[in-house]
């Protein structure tokens, strides 16, 4: 597992479930450090975990990148999960609750979308899938 943090970013190759625990812990620390509430932090780490599980289930491996975001005085986190797996034949169908082709592994994309503020998916058959999510700090 490679784990570099240029400018506070986290970049990790996920090839087995044992890679998951370490990245969960570093992203949890980063989110709390940025000022996210415990609830938001649990949402972020859970979404990250499900994104990694999808890569493991469908592509066998993939890469997770976690970056800080800044827009004006707003701060956020960007998580990208990129794999070179078979791709998703019908992305619209995959966004429906309860749809799964891996025998119930992972809770699917709609759940991840509900946990985060922004959700984007790009998938190409035989090329792979990239899921990008954002979570923004709310001012309190």
């Amino acid at each position: 597992m490679s784990n570099e943090r240029p400018h506070g970013d986290i970049r990790v190759t996920i090839a087995s479930d044992s890679d998951l625990l370490a990245v969960r812990q570093s992203v949890r620390a980063l989110a709390l450090e940025l000022g996210f509430s415990v609830t938001q932090t649990v949402e972020i780490v859970t979404a990250l975990s499900e994104m990694a599980r999808n890569m493991l289930a469908y592509a066998g491996r993939g890469e997770l990148v976690v970056q800080r975001l800044r827009k004006g005085d707003r701060q956020g986190l960007l998580i990208t999960a990129r794999d070179e797996g078979p791709g998703i034949p019908d992305v619209q169908k995959a966004m429906l609750d309860g749809y799964s082709t891996s025998g119930g592994l992972g809770m699917g994309l709609p759940g991840i979308r509900r946990l985060m503020d922004d959700f984007t998916i790009v998938s190409a058959l035989q090329k792979g899938t990239t899921v990008t999510v954002e979570k923004w700090l709310t001012h309190r």
Binding site: S18, L20, L21, R24, T39, V42, E43, P110, G111
Partner: protein, 131 residues
């Protein structure tokens, strides 16, 4: 990191002390299912207070654990789920159907006290009236 399992009378108490890897969780499942028989326990408490998240794998493993323990003749109660973890599970669409939960260890013990009877020690062969 291995989860310590304490024997407390007829019960087993597994207190998760930190974030767990998938294999730690699977190991906990196997250890509980085995010990329920070996120690003739009637009830199991799994304390999640220190668990960081419950994702789809962790939820499924807990569900499997409780179902396996029931098949071995004992009851399981899950205690200590943090509010943030419960909130996130519901948003993600995860649930623990047919699995008892309680607020904390104390409530879990009260639940098991109501649900379980001590196992009777099987009598040695020959002592029972064989007709």
């Amino acid at each position: 990191m291995e989860v310590p399992i304490l024997k407390q009378g007829n019960y087993l108490i597994a207190s998760i002390q930190s974030a767990l890897s998938d294999s730690d969780l699977a190991q906990l499942r196997d250890a509980l299912v085995e010990r329920v028989g070996r120690l003739r326990s009637r009830g199991v408490i799994i304390d999640l207070t220190a668990l960081d998240i419950l994702d789809s794998f962790a939820t499924r493993t807990l569900r499997d654990t409780a179902h396996m323990i029931r098949l071995r003749g004992a009851e399981t109660v899950i205690v200590g789920m943090q509010p943030e973890v419960a909130f996130t599970m519901v948003q993600l669409g995860l649930s623990l159907p047919d699995i008892a939960t309680a607020l904390d260890l104390e409530e879990g013990l009260i639940y098991l006290g109501r649900k379980t009877r001590p196992r009777e020690v099987p009598r040695a062969r020959g002592q029972t009236g064989e007709q």
